[in-house]
Subunit: 215 residues, 4 copies
DNA sequence: TATGAATGAGTCTTCATTCAT
DNA sequence: TATGAATGAAGACTCATTCAT
């Protein structure tokens, strides 16, 4: 049931998509992620990654065959984890499309709050991915976005969406959720759960969905 | 009345902040912008910029002293134009804070639709800016963001904002507007003006502002 | 007792300052020295140094961080070796200032005959040294020159110097000794030892010192 | 009777070889000389020369066809003036070889004191001269050196030279005279004439020539 | 001769990557 | 996997020189 080989078995139907542990990344990828986040993929040297990982340069190549492989590893892990969690959320939400919107938005915000650096790189360094990896990444992103757009489509078909432009509203919701990765700090005043429920509210307001649930 | 030396006299009180001409950038900066947008600052070589500008490599250096200067030029021009336009919009909007919110959001969306590539680079390559230029850029960004946050604060003080979290809502509005630069295409089906009025609606809904105007 | 970290333990009181082995320089510095000697610092490319050292260009940078570092390495090694040898000579000469002049001149000539290329670069490329290295080099040169000027001053104070212009004579002696590096060839007809004793004679004549020793 | 086209008619038999005016060089060569003296030929850019000359870069090329031509111009002018002056001195000295030595040494020192920068470049940048110019320069230098070595040979043949190594002594005299260009400052405490007579004394002492004149 | 724009060739330097130990 | 040495390819930048105006 997992999206990719990197996925970590989060899809159990018990709300585990809401729980986040620290550092799900192997140490070398973690180091690379830190570096890529600070200076970008092209602005990072393998030596910097090695230094941050506490390894020698050939030590990096022992684990990963190339610099590109580091980026691919980070991007794949991020996309897989996000998809697994959001899918679990959507499935757990049941049949009501508005509940599904709620769950998907909550999952999106939780993920981007907890995995900001990964998500940021996965979003901003697509252009640095080589041919095949880029195509795979874009496919993963599209698959991911469909979880929300399908829910919105279903809600609209059910007459639950008040806005005359549900597709535009859905895009606005997506971007405001993914942007969380750019500014949110885990050590700041806001808990991820608060932020998530705030953004669920925003999303429903934006889509002009009556929060009361199906008649 | 201009924000920076690069500003181009847009602040006249006649709605000129809504009018956009093509390519306000000198050709070398335009070429650099295209390249930076495609591969990022560090992923772009001076040779690529030169080729795209139809110049030799030293030809670039005849006009700009360094690759960094190209980035600074793009970022400064973008921030200056955005601020000048948004300030003009805010001033033209008059005393009502909700009108000011409307105007600022409209200006934000129009700018990010028309100047997507510039805005994208100005936002994504801050980390590639050298010390001083980075500080100046961050100051310009903060000044820019105050135009919206002040308007929201004023509206909240006037009891016009329904959301219990106006600051968070304002941030969500900002990010959904700036994200326009990431996906909007001028040659797509949507006219910038339509998009802008759609996003004004989104913003008011998000902030839970009664669109009817002051009682 | 050594002048600098580069010094090589020459100061033992056994006349070892008179013995010279070939090539005390690491191979990369040796190659750089040959190139700098032929075309000057600015007239030499790293490629030439690499080719002469039998390395690739990055191979040079593996050992030395910059072209400037090559020059600094050569200059420092030369100044340190010269000072160590001359100091050893002066100390071995004992209390008599004329004996000290003899020893210092002998050491100067031996060094410039054996280490002509190093000495030539150290003297002619001072202007190519960067700020700090230049200051350090000038300090080393001044310290070096004091070994002879102190000896001459002492001899003059003891009434042993006949010339009415001992300072000018000392400078003439210094320059004629250092000039040895410009024209002397180790594979020529003159042995360094012969040249050295000839120049000791010249120096005493120039200073109008009675060679018979103290009354 | 002039050595080269650049020579300036100094050979009149009236002691005019002792008189020096300021700046015998055209302004562009003067600027080049200043730059070459500070950073060396290869360390100097045409732009620096142009700036120092108060001209534009193409302005330099209007006067001289290449950077190399600047160096050739400086070197030729220096060698020609030195030869003309020293030849005049030697001829004026008359038949006595010791008088000729005196005159040549005096001329050498006066020239290197008054024309230090030119002489320094002519001596240190030989290696930067292209093929033909280098050969010509070396020929000029040899011709120049013969003026002193012939005089010493003649004095030795006449039994007037006391040193057993007249050739080595002559070389020492030459180098100590040319070294004047390296350290002497016209604005220092020593007048060129004093220095010259001091060095004449040094030269005679070094050669062990009895200053009293021919028996 | 000044100005401004331009460039082929080359400079120093760095980078991702490899290999022997 | 660490260390050290090494390198082909490329990157930013500079230089001497030229040409149109």
């Amino acid at each position: 049931m997992n999206g990719t080989p990197e996925s970590a078995g989060i899809a159990e139907p018990d709300g585990s998509w809401r729980r986040f542990d620290a550092a799900p990344l192997p140490p070398v990828l973690q180091a690379a992620q830190d570096c890529f986040g600070e200076h970008g993929y092209h602005g990072t040297t393998i030596r910097e990654v090695a230094a941050r990982a506490g390894l020698s340069v050939p030590g990096i190549y022992h684990h990963y065959p190339s610099k590109q492989a580091l980026l691919v590893g980070i991007a794949q892990a991020a996309m897989a984890e996000l998809y697994d969690r959001t899918l679990a959320a959507a499935e757990e939400a049941g049949a009501d499309p508005v509940d599904r919107i709620r769950a998907v938005v909550e999952s999106l915000v939780l993920f981007h709050a907890h995995r900001g650096p990964s998500a940021f790189i996965a979003a901003s360094e697509i252009r640095s991915l080589d041919g095949d990896a880029r195509a795979a990444h874009i496919a993963a992103r599209d698959r991911q976005q469909r979880l929300l757009s399908d829910a919105v489509d279903d809600a609209a078909a059910a007459g639950r969406v008040g806005t005359p432009v549900p597709h535009e509203a859905m895009r606005a919701v997506t971007t405001m959720c993914t942007a969380v990765a750019q500014w949110y700090r885990l050590d700041g005043p806001l808990r991820p759960e608060e932020l998530a429920s705030t953004y669920v509210r925003f999303a429903l307001d934006l889509l002009r969905i009556d929060g009361a649930g199906p008649a």
